[in-house]
């Protein structure tokens, strides 16, 4: 989601200070974002302990530790609001944390002579890094797959190619109100099916439609 220019330049200055190790900037950043991020994590399904632990790690990672450990904020490209970017980072970490927890297993009593660590396949690095993208992509793709192609085509022509509803109506030979109704109805179906998909695959992950859009928008800036 785009932020106003003034806000971005203030955030850019704050981030620059943090990246350079300015303790006052780091303190201001924490003061500015900690409470919002805590609420976001709790709203997305973290326990209070998980949220506080993840935030403690986050603030540590924002402090530069020399060439071999630059500040996490060096990855912020300034194309979205800082809070939106941080909340995406935290959601990613929350998902990774929960995935790691689900991979943890208790070593069994065994006398086959095999060392325990050799038995357990670690989750792949790619799987961990892309977990958030994969959750969003899978649920959204499933929702799109359930929509008639004609509806998706009209949505794409309307919003990606900026054709008017009148032009669409003329093209398919419908009344404009029918086109308008179909566009709204299809968007509603996409929203409902997407959130249901997330709930089905990751029932602990709580997300509103605005959260979903914010995450997609924030991740989109990483592709630019």
């Amino acid at each position: 989601m785009a932020a106003p220019d003034g806000e971005l330049s203030n955030e850019a200055a704050l981030v620059l200070g943090c990246v350079q190790g300015d303790s006052q900037a780091l303190g201001r950043l924490r003061e500015k974002c900690h409470s919002d991020l805590l609420h976001i994590l709790l709203a997305r399904g973290a326990t209070r302990t998980e949220a506080e632990d993840l935030l403690a790690d986050l603030w540590c990672d924002c402090v530069p530790g020399g060439d071999d450990r630059p500040s996490l904020l060096e990855k912020f490209n300034g194309k979205c609001k800082l809070l939106g970017w941080l909340s995406t980072v935290m959601t990613r970490r929350l998902i990774d944390f929960r995935r790691r927890q689900s991979h943890k297993v208790t070593p069994p009593d065994s006398d086959d002579g095999q060392e325990w660590p050799e038995r357990v396949a670690a989750p792949s690095q790619v799987e961990g890094e892309d977990a958030l993208i994969e959750i969003l992509r899978r649920s959204l793709q499933q929702a799109f797959d359930h929509c008639p192609f004609e509806s998706l085509l009209l949505l794409r022509l309307r919003y990606m190619y900026k054709l008017s509803q009148r032009e669409l109506a003329q093209m398919v030979g419908w009344h404009e109100t029918k086109v308008s109704r179909l566009l709204s109805q299809t968007m509603q179906e996409i929203e409902t099916a997407t959130l249901a998909g997330i709930n089905q695959h990751d029932p602990w992950l709580s997300m509103t439609w605005d959260d979903f859009l914010d995450l997609c928008s924030s991740l989109e800036t990483e592709f630019l």
Partner: protein, 81 residues
């Protein structure tokens, strides 16, 4: 702020592994191009529309051509948008 559908479609387009080979996109054959032009003008019967939609479903990059055909009509006298 972008429209919600624009956010969603852009996100899917960028994360869709199936469309990574975009360099291999081929232009539509002449008969399909003609059907796209007719569709843009609202002159296709239901059966032909279905045929074009099937073509577009399997060749998503042709949707841009359809959009361009509709936009080209804006410049023609007597066409209102």
């Amino acid at each position: 702020m972008s429209d919600p559908f624009e956010i969603l479609a852009s996100f899917l387009d960028h994360t869709d592994r199936e469309v990574e080979g975009r360099g291999l996109e081929t232009p539509p054959p002449a008969e399909v191009l003609e059907l796209l032009r007719q569709l843009a003008r609202g002159k296709l019967a239901a059966a032909q529309k279905k045929e074009v939609f099937d073509q577009l479903r399997h060749n998503r990059h042709w949707i841009a051509i359809l959009a361009d055909e509709v936009k080209a009509l804006r410049a023609l006298p007597g066409e209102k948008t």
